[in-house]
């Protein structure tokens, strides 16, 4: 075997073992009974329920905006497209805590933000804040994931549909969306998975209040703060199970979706 291959396989094995070792060693830290009772505690059940519901809502809202936005970025030609394309990457590159801080400042220190927070929907330190924080982080990720899905679909399908008497909008629903189905589903699962684990922006905007804005990530943060390692481990295992399931689904779907 050539030195390059030895080096490449060595690095691959090291990284794989590194991930497995962390998971196995941390799960061996606690006993199964203590783990089971932590998983079934009211606090964890609340956190699971809040996490799943907020992540689902924020993912749905993110996709509702990201699908047309990604379609526009993939197909439309307009001045300033590359600037907008770059702009959309900012929330991805920015630390989530910075995004949460910006949202917190907006809702507490600007007239429009204060009006919305006081008179329309209360976001600061409330559950809608969890959803908004997740939305802010995952919506641009959804655009990034969906753009290549739409780019992978030959625009001639829409053109042919239109020559057959179908409007551009109907062609989008009858041709583009069905062709993007696998990619859309995979992008939705990845977006949802990212929303599940969102912490930085959520804790800044919605706070870390037990049984109120306590998502799984925040529950882990709170359990670490009070040195409750069984609880932290239980949350890690739940998140791990969700992550593995998500990755398995997306590996099967996403690459197939891109290849349409």
């Amino acid at each position: 075997m050539s030195p390059l291959r030895v080096l490449a396989f060595g690095c691959l094995i090291f990284l794989s073992l590194f991930i497995v070792a962390i998971i196995v060693s941390s799960s061996l830290f606690t006993n199964p009974l203590a783990l089971a009772s932590a998983i079934l505690s009211d606090e964890i059940i609340f956190a699971i329920s809040l996490t799943l519901s907020t992540a689902t809502i924020s993912t749905a809202a993110a996709l509702a905006l990201a699908i047309p936005a990604a379609y526009a970025l993939a197909y439309a030609k307009f001045p300033g497209k590359s600037v907008i394309d770059t702009f959309i990457d900012i929330p991805i590159a920015l630390p989530p805590v910075a995004l949460g801080t910006a949202l917190l400042i907006f809702f507490t220190n600007t007239p429009l933000g204060v009006f919305i927070n006081n008179s329309v929907i209360k976001f600061v330190f409330e559950v809608p804040g969890v959803i908004l924080a997740q939305f802010a982080v995952v919506s641009v990720l959804a655009v990034r994931l969906l753009k290549p899905v739409f780019e992978g679909i030959d625009p001639r399908y829409v053109m042919i549909a239109r020559t057959l008497g179908v409007s551009e909008l109907r062609a989008f629903f009858r041709v583009t969306l069905p062709l993007a189905k696998s990619g859309l589903f995979a992008a939705a699962v990845l977006t949802w998975a990212r929303a599940l684990g969102e912490f930085g922006a959520t804790v800044t905007l919605a706070g870390a209040t037990r049984f109120k804005t306590e998502t799984l990530s925040i529950a882990m943060f709170l359990s670490l703060a009070r040195a409750d390692l069984e609880m932290a481990m239980a949350i890690i295992l739940i998140l791990l199970a969700l992550t593995v399931a998500t990755l398995l689904i997306t590996r099967r779907l996403f690459y197939r979706g891109l290849a349409v």
Binding site: Y157, T163, L164, G165, V175, P178, V260
Partner: protein
């Protein structure tokens, strides 16, 4: 009827300029030209996919120049057919139909003799089956004009030969039954010859020559057209005019040319079709040509290419010349052997 006037499109470095043609119902215009000459751009303008910067497109006297594709009633079959992969063959055909679709779909599938393909995944169809489904899909939407963009180009050579004849018979049926004007894009001369009623030769965004197929093939108007059609082009100088016959000196060879509008001592480009040349081992004039003014020149065969039933023979007569002969005659000719080249004076046409 479709009528296109002064169609102009500018796309980056490419420009389609001043395209004019019209095709009546039941006739087929074959647009032919090399890659990048603008054939597909013309179709895309007619289909409404590209907006022209100038010009007008009338379909049955309705100005569709500024209408979106869905309002034009144009049946467009693009290269490689672009069938919707998420729909079955039947669903593809029904795509453009409104209201009760099943009867119409059944009718058109039976018309194309593809009823057995109804539930098939279009990705599993053969090239010929895809072609029929794409044509059926385009015609099911009740178009006023049919546009075909190199429908045979994505097929392997064997299937192409078979499907060319099949397509010809389908198109004849479409032309006579539906009385639609058809625009057929190809870069293959034999395809255009088989399918088109009219021929338009495109070069670099312009129509070099347009007319009845027989006229264009018989008398190319420019060096480009003659060259594209694979004709021999001989450069010479008129040295004598006598009794309606010109003698042209082509690098020392004196060729007899029947032409009226030709001037003494002028440089002239002569066009001679390969199929108008007869090869023989003896220099005697063919019996049937006894009463014609005829050129007989000796030469040497330099290359022979078999092309199915015919062979392309390259001959050196002082200038290179191409002739087509029946492949069955190849026993008589070998590369390097001497040969007599015969062609009638009336078959040598000066370029205008």
């Amino acid at each position: 009827m479709i009528s296109v006037s002064d169609l102009t499109v500018k796309r980056g470095n490419f420009a389609l300029e001043g395209i004019n043609f019209s095709v009546e119902g039941g006739k087929c215009l074959a647009l032919i030209g090399p890659n990048g000459s603008g054939k597909t751009t013309i179709l895309e303008c007619v289909a409404g996919i590209i907006k022209p910067s100038r010009g007008r497109i009338l379909i049955e006297d309705v100005d569709v120049t500024n209408l979106p594709p869905e309002k034009r009633r144009v049946g467009y079959v693009p290269q490689d057919f672009v069938l919707f992969p998420h729909l079955s063959a039947e669903q593809n055909i029904a795509f453009g139909l409104k209201g009760d679709k099943s009867d119409k779909v059944k009718e058109i599938m039976s018309w194309f003799e593809i009823s057995h393909l109804a539930g098939r995944d279009v990705r599993s169809l053969s090239g010929g089956e895809k072609q029929k489904v794409a044509l059926a899909r385009a015609l099911a939407a009740n178009p006023k004009v049919l546009l075909l963009d190199e429908p045979l180009s994505s097929l392997d050579p064997l299937s192409r030969d078979r499907l060319r004849r099949e397509l010809k018979s389908i198109l004849s049926k479409i032309l006579t039954t539906l009385n639609l004007p058809v625009i057929y894009v190809t870069h293959d001369l034999s395809e255009a010859d088989l399918i088109g009623d009219y021929l338009a030769v495109l070069n670099n965004g312009r129509i070099e020559q347009i007319g009845l197929k027989s006229e264009v093939l018989a008398e190319p108007h420019s060096r480009f057209v003659a060259d594209f059609l694979g004709y021999n082009i001989l450069e010479g100088r008129v040295v004598e005019l006598k009794d309606g016959l010109a003698t042209v000196d082509v690098k020392g060879l004196l060729l007899q040319v029947e032409a009226e509008d030709i001037n003494l001592r002028k440089e002239v480009s002569l066009v001679l079709r390969p199929q108008d040349i007869v090869l023989s081992q003896e220099g005697a004039v063919r019996e049937r040509w006894q009463h014609c003014r005829c050129n007989i020149i000796s030469g040497e065969i330099t290359e022979i290419y078999r092309m199915g039933n015919i062979a392309k023979v390259l001959i050196d007569i002082g200038v290179p010349l191409t002739a087509y002969v029946s492949a069955s005659m190849l026993d008589e000719f070998r590369v390097g052997s001497s040969v007599f080249v015969q062609f009638k004076a009336c078959k040598v046409k000066p370029l205008r």
